[in-house]
């Protein structure tokens, strides 16, 4: 097996600064049973996430990139403990998220929060801003109404809304402002780890930058760690320090953002980068356009998951799963093209 998968169950690796990872995912697989009709239907499984391992260190922004259906949201939900994995586990601050009792789990969950993609459906339309942002404090308990209001006001200012918005309802706000409310709700319990699941894709272009800058400002001020899910590679390049490229539930390439953008090794990463439309009208680059669609994760190819669409596919890609190899320190690629050079 590849080196990354042979790690001891308890994450011990440290980054350059000697920090232990805040969140470690070890050999995580999530399978969902589907179909299986009434009597004779055959049970099938959707292999949403297969054998993913990653480490997220305190204070960094970790990018998760892939097309829809590649399992990035499932992975994020599992990391937050919302889905029980089929195999493997998640360590948060060194503790096994799925091996602790319910009370500890609830406490651990307070340290990890989420910002959702669609600010229109993720806020309760019948609550006012005070209720929405204050709800996590209420659930946690032990706060008086005055304390909650004071804290909500403090957060409103922090995310760039004003005090007079306190008793307004979500319908009074624009998309960007709603996303700010969502962010305030997510950070009210002072989490260490924040999952941002495509936080700007539902917003207008001119508001994108506002929300992204706000997230970066908050990270600097509060010192949170982000898992940033996105399909916009240009955004990921700007804000993430490490990243993983996923395809059909599998890790294709992972490592430092810099080295991946400078030297994309996997054909899928290369294709993704090439598909990014640039507004540079002076030098239009030659683009490789992938043929075909993403296959269904119900019956993924037995070999490399990407082999059907890969422009460089070889015969063995169809039958043999490529091993994950470290092409340069901290830069992992799962592709026969890269492992071939070593063997």
């Amino acid at each position: 097996m590849a080196d990354i998968q042979n790690n001891p169950p308890l994450a011990q690796e440290v980054d350059e600064k000697g920090n232990l990872p805040l969140v470690s995912v070890r050999n995580l697989s999530v399978h969902f049973p589907v179909g299986g009709g009434f009597l004779f239907g055959k049970k099938k499984t959707v292999k949403a996430v297969s054998d993913i391992s990653l480490d997220i260190y305190p204070g960094e922004t970790y990018g998760l990139v892939g097309e829809s259906g590649c399992g990035k949201s499932t992975l994020a939900n599992t990391m937050l403990g919302m889905i029980t994995p089929t195999e493997g586990t998640v360590y948060f601050k060194g503790k096994d998220l799925f091996g602790v009792d319910k009370k500890t789990f609830t406490e651990m969950r307070r340290g990890m929060q989420m910002i959702f993609q669609d600010p229109y459906s993720s806020l309760n339309p019948r609550f006012d801003v005070l209720q929405i942002i204050g709800e996590p404090l209420k659930i946690r308990g032990g706060y008086t109404d005055e304390e909650i209001e004071a804290r909500v006001l403090e957060l409103l200012r922090l995310v760039g809304l004003s005090d007079k918005d306190l008793h307004r309802h979500p319908s009074d706000f624009s998309g960007g402002q709603r996303q700010r409310i969502g962010i305030a709700r997510a950070i009210i319990l002072n989490p260490d780890f924040l999952v941002c699941d495509e936080p700007v894709s539902a917003l207008d272009v001119s508001v994108h930058a506002q929300i992204l800058n706000l997230l970066m400002k908050l990270q600097k001020e509060i010192g949170m760690t982000y898992l940033f899910i996105s399909h916009n590679l240009a955004v990921v390049k700007t804000i993430c320090t490490h990243m993983t490229v996923m395809y059909l539930g599998k890790m294709m390439e992972s490592g430092k953002t810099e080295s991946i953008y400078k030297n994309p090794m996997h054909p899928y990463t290369q294709a993704l980068l090439s598909a990014v439309l640039d507004i540079d009208v002076d030098n239009k680059k030659e683009r490789t356009i992938l043929k075909g669609d993403i296959p269904s994760p119900i019956d993924p190819p037995i070999g490399c998951r990407f082999c059907q669409r890969c422009p460089k596919a070889m015969e063995k890609c169809k039958y043999i799963q490529p091993e994950t190899v470290e092409v340069e320190p901290g830069h992992f690629v799962a592709c026969h093209l890269c492992s071939g050079e070593r063997v």
Binding site: E67, V205, S206, N213, T238, V276, L277, D280, I294
Partner: protein, 342 residues
Amino acid sequence: MNDEKKISSPDTTEQENTLTLRNLKVIFPNEAGVIRAVEGIDLDIKPGECVALVGESGCGKSMTSLAIMKLLSSPPAMIRVDELKLNGEDLTLLSEQKMQSIRGSQMSMIFQDAMTALNPVMTVGRQLDEIFMRHSNMKRKEAKEHSIKALAMVGVPSPELRYKDFPHQLSGGMRQRVLIAMAFACQPKLIIADEPTTALDVTIQAQVLELLSDMQRKHNTSLLLITHDLSIVANMADRIYVMYSGKIVETANAYELFKKPLHPYTEGLLGAIPRLSDDHHEFIQIPDSVPHPMFKPQGCYFHPRCRYATEECKCDMPPLREIAPGHCVRCFHPLSEKGEDK
């Protein structure tokens, strides 16, 4: 390449426009006030040209496209237009029945969400047949042949089998291809594509855009591309209209606009796009958000968000002026006059 294109060569101006639109206004009166969705828009589309209408949500770009197709029902909408001509034919006078035969055959539309644009209880083949049977008076058998051909043309693999599929059996990219096949079925003069790739993944988006510009070139169709994504526009459009809050704020050919944006809003939009070639670690942002269509500010609609705004901008709406040949801007202080600051 775009720079080889002349800005306004005499032979293209003499040619008749595929679409001429003058002073289109769409308003929605309701109890609380009047929503002025579109406030006096002029559009010209020449044969074989790809024109992009760019703007954020709520700026009235979709309303414009629906008004061109005469698909807005009135009431609730109130539409006023001075001139609406397709290939010289005045559409304003046509009855609804006449319009129905023009939609689909002379101009057609590609919608954003293919799942809702297609009928879920009809096979895609039947839906394609319908177009041929309605507009070209074909018999079912003949229509089927044409449909399969149309599916093959847009790159649907094994079109005979896909002909019998229902929309839910196809992937998002395939559905969009079917919509493109339907739009090009009767070889219309004008196709309006309303955010054709927003619902798609990056790699599929690249496929669909390539197909769209391929088909456009092959059939020499005029394309009105409506989108909020300037990066799509940069790769496809010949000419660009930038819309803000119901008004055109800048129009130029694509190369000019990206090289030398004159309106502060265009500059902001261009700056807000993260690029792969960037090295900075901050995003350039436009403050605030688009004004509510019922409470538009006095003067220039963009002045509360504009960093160059002066007293003049707060009182009066600037007119759309032509600064360079073919390059118009609605601003008192277009960026070029401030010198080459970037």
